[in-house]
């Protein structure tokens, strides 16, 4: 009897404890949060200060359908709020924002980190620490450089997207399907900055003003020296960079020849990097680049059969790739920015030689030679074997 009573008492205690003593210690309800979707950092007008702006998903707009019902509502009300604060440090600014508003900032869902151009030119490293150290932020946040002011980029609406920061993230992800180097996340950026001689690249986002709308566009990459922006490379040059890194997964390559022109889809690419040392100890970077293509479009090429065309196309594609690579390489050589991480490659594969090369790398890189071996493979001609134009040419 007593035993039963004891058991009952025990169960009762368990129940009471489960329902009263459990729960979250630092509970935060959704309606007390500002969910941060994007963050921008600009150089403030006062020297030494930074302007931190955050884009916040507007609480009322949260969860109410997709972007679709915005049109139905008629009123073009924005789904986001931008708040900003000018302070010496990032955390200082964020804390100021936190205490100056009715809700607390929730950083877990931050999608992008955009630096204003002026700040990028002045150096970004001091402001990365906070994003890495904080427990709420994530390392996969995309880092970008605004062509002008970062805050304005966050302020620009993207037509199909409710929250422009999410839209920017999707734009970057889209580009990343071409090559992973088109978008850089925080971890990659820090990793590149850690390699002493490598110059990181960050995508540039630009506000394009057209007649009746302003939109955002990703144009080329900003080239950094250490953590300071020193120049740009174009989208075309960026493809040259991706060939060298061996990471082109899709995209296209226009080929112009005497007999006609063609656009070819990139299926995949590979690169085998190697270092050859000249007798005087200077390195040559030798590469075996392999690109696999399919034909996307043919124009011209009258009176030629498929085999001839393929041979011509192979030669043309090789030329085009070489041009893309050299365009990029020449441009960064003049900036003295080793964006490829060649220095780091030598360090990893020939650590002994690197010890002597490292102090003079700054002077060596602008005169570095490339030894390119390009192999083009055309796997597929698409749905048609011959172009109608070719047929007509042959008949006439």
């Amino acid at each position: 009897m007593l035993n039963k009573f004891k058991k009952f008492l025990f169960l009762l205690m368990v129940f009471i404890l489960v329902f009263t003593a459990s729960g979250c210690y630092d509970i935060r309800e959704l309606d007390s949060l500002y969910i941060v979707t994007g963050m921008a950092m600009d150089k403030a007008e006062q020297p030494g200060l930074i302007e931190v702006s955050v884009q916040i998903a507007k609480p009322g707009a949260l969860g109410s359908g997709g972007g679709g019902d915005k049109k139905g509502g008629g009123g073009e009300e924005k789904a986001t709020i931008i708040i900003d604060s000018v302070k010496r440090n990032v955390i200082e600014a964020l804390e100021a924002l936190r205490h100056d508003s009715s809700r607390t900032l929730f950083m877990h869902h931050n999608q992008v980190l955009i630096f204003g151009r002026e700040q990028a030119e002045a150096g970004i490293l001091p402001y990365l620490d906070a994003s890495m150290r904080d427990q709420e932020t994530r390392l996969e946040v995309m880092v970008l450089v605004a062509d002008e002011k970062a805050k304005d980029v966050l302020n620009t609406e993207i037509k199909a997207e409710k929250y422009s920061a999410v839209g920017i993230r999707r734009m970057v992800d889209n580009k990343r399907s071409i090559s992973k180097f088109f978008g850089i996340d925080l971890l990659t950026l820090v990793s590149k900055l850690t390699e002493e001689t490598t110059s990181p690249l960050l995508p540039i986002i630009k506000i394009v003003e057209e007649e009746d709308l302003t939109r955002l566009s990703l144009t080329g990459m900003a080239v950094f020296k250490k953590d300071k922006m020193i120049g740009k490379i174009t989208e075309y040059q960026l493809r040259g960079y991706s060939w060298v890194m061996g990471e082109l997964k899709s995209g296209y390559l226009p080929v112009k020849l005497k007999q006609g022109s063609s656009v070819m889809y990139v299926k995949s690419s590979k690169n085998k990097l190697n270092t050859i040392f000249k007798p005087d100890g200077k390195p040559i970077m030798s590469m075996e680049i392999e690109g696999v293509f399919s034909v996307g479009e043919l124009m011209g090429f009258e009176e030629m059969d498929t085999k001839q065309i393929v041979d011509e196309l192979k030669k043309g594609a090789e030329q085009a790739i070489r041009k893309e690579i050299m365009s990029c390489f020449k441009s960064v050589q003049s900036m003295k920015a080793d964006i490829y991480g060649f220095g780091d490659y030598i360090n990893k594969h020939h650590p002994k030689k690197w010890k002597t090369l490292k102090p003079q790398w700054e002077e060596l890189f602008p005169s570095l030679e490339l030894d390119l071996k390009i192999k083009v493979e055309i796997k597929d001609t698409g749905k048609i074997l011959q172009s109608p134009q070719m047929e007509i040419g042959r008949l006439s």
Binding site: Y25, D26, L139, V190, S191, H349, P351
Partner: protein, 374 residues
């Protein structure tokens, strides 16, 4: 005097060793900033360096198969000498327990519950450990195999889903750092997980095995545990690359980065689960060993009345130990490598030598034979 009446199987013993080593993978940040991309090599070096140390432990427990470390000390150094040496060990066991307890409190705070006071987490945790310890060794080690299976499954899963973000180049250049940092790194890895196996000398007499098999299971647990540790470091290094040195919880960041498609990502909660179960095992085992050592030292029949007071002391000890986590990392990096060897190498070695000089193992064996005859 025989406090621990239950016996565990050799397999349980082996899994206990594995679990014990595996739980140290959470502390990889003690040596990753020192050796960077060679962190995995340092583990191999550490395992090689640890072999002679393990030989000391195995020889000791072979020489005195029926006695635990405290009893061995009494036998070898006499009553008073044994008590003094055992007191040092006692302090060592308590410190280890408190250190691991503290690790748990801090890591849970850092990884998942950032605003909960660590004292709450630690108190709840030590109560659970106390509950397990109350039922003795069999209960303490029983779940080792389950924990190893869970942690290995998570490790395997994380390997499978992260192959596409691993970089072979992360490991290069190999062996390109000053010799000093390799020595320091190897020393840390030898002292922190591998050398701490000295605590198992307390429970060897309660394992049910034949003399010869001791080597097999002790070594087996050590090698398999070391391999698991190596696998964890290889994964973290391959994914994080040269940024490995920045993070205080590399495995946590690694699991945070891994994502499958858009929806299935952020697996750090798996790490939190792993952390809690592995540290639960380690703290429970250390807690049990501390209590066992205490009761043998004081020559009392049972340690049960001491469980809660000692638990309270451990909580307090773990809090006053360091002022900050930086201080703790500095302690792990700069003080442990010179201090722990006293307990993990020097004292066991002296014990072994003295025992052989006094020809105790021989006498012991003869005595045992007589016992059998009687």
């Amino acid at each position: 005097m025989n406090i621990e009446k239950s016996r565990i199987s050799p397999l349980q013993f082996m899994f206990a060793i594995m679990c014990f080593i595996r739980s140290s993978s959470l502390l990889s940040s003690f040596f990753t900033p020192i050796v960077n991309q060679d962190s995995w090599l340092v583990i191999i070096f550490g395992m090689i360096v640890s072999l002679p140390v393990l030989w000391i432990y195995i020889s000791l427990s072979k020489a005195f198969p029926k006695s635990n470390l405290i009893e061995i000390n009494d036998l070898v150094f006499g009553r008073i000498g044994g008590k003094i040496i055992s007191a040092f060990y006692l302090w060592f066991f308590f410190t280890l327990t408190a250190l691991n307890l503290r690790d748990l409190g801090i890591f849970v705070g850092k990884s998942t519950m950032s605003k909960t006071p660590p004292v709450l987490i630690i108190i709840v945790f030590i109560l659970l450990c106390a509950w397990a310890v109350y039922y003795g060794l069999e209960v303490v080690t029983r779940y080792g195999i389950v924990f190893i299976l869970i942690s290995s499954a998570i490790l395997l899963l994380s390997f499978l889903v992260s192959i596409n973000i691993m970089h072979r180049e992360s490991f290069l250049p190999i062996l390109n750092q000053p010799l000093k940092s390799y020595i320091q790194g190897t020393n840390i890895i030898t002292m922190i997980p591998f050398g701490e196996l000295v605590v198992f000398l307390m429970i060897v007499p309660y394992v049910d095995f034949k003399q010869k098999k001791l080597v097999r299971y002790f070594m087996g647990g050590f090698l398999l545990g070391g391999l698991l540790l190596l696998a964890v470091i290889l994964r973290d290094l391959a994914i994080l690359g040269n940024t490995l040195k920045y993070f205080s919880l590399p495995s946590f960041e690694t699991l945070r980065i891994i994502r499958l498609f858009d929806s299935l990502g952020h697996m750090e909660i798996l790490f939190a689960i792993l952390l809690i179960i592995l540290l639960f095992f380690k703290v429970t085992l250390l807690f049990y060993i501390s209590l066992l050592a205490l009761s043998y030292w004081l020559k009392i029949e049972t340690f049960r009345p001491f469980i809660l007071p000692v638990a309270a002391l451990l909580v307090a000890y773990s809090f006053i130990m360091f002022e900050s986590s930086m201080q703790q990392t500095a302690f792990a990096r700069e003080i442990i490598p010179f201090f722990w060897p006293i307990f993990e190498m020097l004292l066991p070695f002296i014990t072994l030598i003295v025992a052989y000089i006094r020809e105790l193992p021989k006498k012991n064996r003869e005595k045992e034979k007589e016992d059998v005859k009687v």
